[in-house]
Amino acid sequence: MSPIYKGDSSDKRAFLLTLEARQHLHEFPPQVIIETTAACNLTCAHCSHDAMTRPVGHMPMALYRKIVDEIAECAPHTEVWPTFYGEAFLLDYRLFYMLQYAKQRGLTNLVLNTNGTRFNGEVAEWVIESGLDLVMFSLDGFSPAVFESVRVGAHRDEVFANVERLLAIKAHRGATTPRVEVQFSMMDANEHEVGQFREYWLARGADVKIREKLSWGGTVGAGNLDPQMHRIACPWALRTCAIHWNGDVVACAVDYEGKFVAGNVSTQSIRDIWTGPHRVLQRQHLAHEFAVLPSPCHDCLDWQVAGGAEHYQSQARGQ
């Protein structure tokens, strides 16, 4: 069954129950999200970044190293995202250093998403050199009008050209990494363009990911999320360790404000926080004790889309 659900609510419930059956406790988080910077240069229609109240900052390098060192020692195959609620490419060569460091320490699954606005030819070169495994461009539109109404502050033609340049440079160098994926978050404003988007990028050598829209913990409207849907244990709460730039480990990948702080990796280990204070949250999810969940989980509906997305693999040159 496709995760991008188009059927009736009973089908969706069945899908979610199947998804929940795969969830269990992990001794080390399978996915770690590291906020290398909280700064962003766009004001996207489906994001609350411009309303964020916590301070914007960059993660100190010593803290970043500590996090990567622990992952390298405990679970180097962990899916690591050196980004959270910001645009990591604003860090320029600081990001290159971070990526290179993670690869040199032996991390094998390093993933970044980006709005693509800073991805000129120079950046494309160092991204390929860094060893990054996957770069995902969040695009969310095909026509300039739709793209620029969603990705507010970005220019469609420039960003598309940036992705295509990366594909061309990668092919020219014969590089196998990073895998290039373009992401389309479905919403009322853009869903009529999803077919064009998919075909365009598959023909050019980029893989395509299509996902449902998030509410970011209820901070932006998402009519696709059904408040009456049978609730399941959230895959993000059970799999994702999300770390803010100041070291706070928060509830999950949508807790951008840090409403639930389980600990701080400046003075604690990821494992101790994950199997300690954060484990309380995980057990509440697994036991369906939803009424006692803390904010931001309590009223969140994003668990409905946390389980997956549609992926299409390009057969064209460039991957």
Binding site: H58, P60, M61, A62, L90, L91, D92, Y93, R94, F96, Y97, R118, N120, G121, E122, W126
Partner: protein, 135 residues
């Protein structure tokens, strides 16, 4: 004058350490000079005099590392030391740069501490020279 037996250095001054419209051309020029220096067996000098922040210095790191990986035998960084925040000690030790020349009127205490930290971390490489600011 270049001493006998010593190849004359290729020199580049970095103007932009943060992304801007000129930075891509600057990096292309650095890569071209690195290839030229490697092919000719000549030293390569990067000169940067200016301020620093959490982001900018890492561009220097990349440029120096790139030149060493391109095969330049001797790469030197000339600077007034303004770039040298605490984090720079690590990347100076890691990037492979052979020599750091600080042209300063005086060495303030924080810079003195960073010099000591670099020496403790990486020993004699890179060599660090402190000399008066040229007229």
């Amino acid at each position: 004058m270049t001493p006998p037996g010593h190849a004359e250095a290729i020199v580049m001054t970095a103007h932009s350490l943060a992304p801007n419209p000129t930075s891509e051309a600057e990096m292309l020029e650095w890569k071209r000079l690195a290839a030229q220096a490697a092919a000719a067996g000549r030293p390569l000098q990067l000169r940067y005099f200016g301020s620093a922040n959490q982001i900018a210095g890492y561009r220097l790191h990349y440029m120096l590392q790139y030149a060493k990986q391109a095969g330049v035998e001797k790469v030197a960084l000339y600077s007034d030391g303004q770039f040298w925040i605490d984090e720079a000690t690590d990347w100076l030790a890691e990037c492979g740069v052979d020599e750091v020349v600080l042209e300063v009127a005086a060495v303030p205490a924080p810079l003195q501490e960073r010099l000591a930290n670099l020496a403790a971390r990486s020993g004699p490489h890179p060599a660090v020279t402190v000399r008066p600011t040229p007229d």
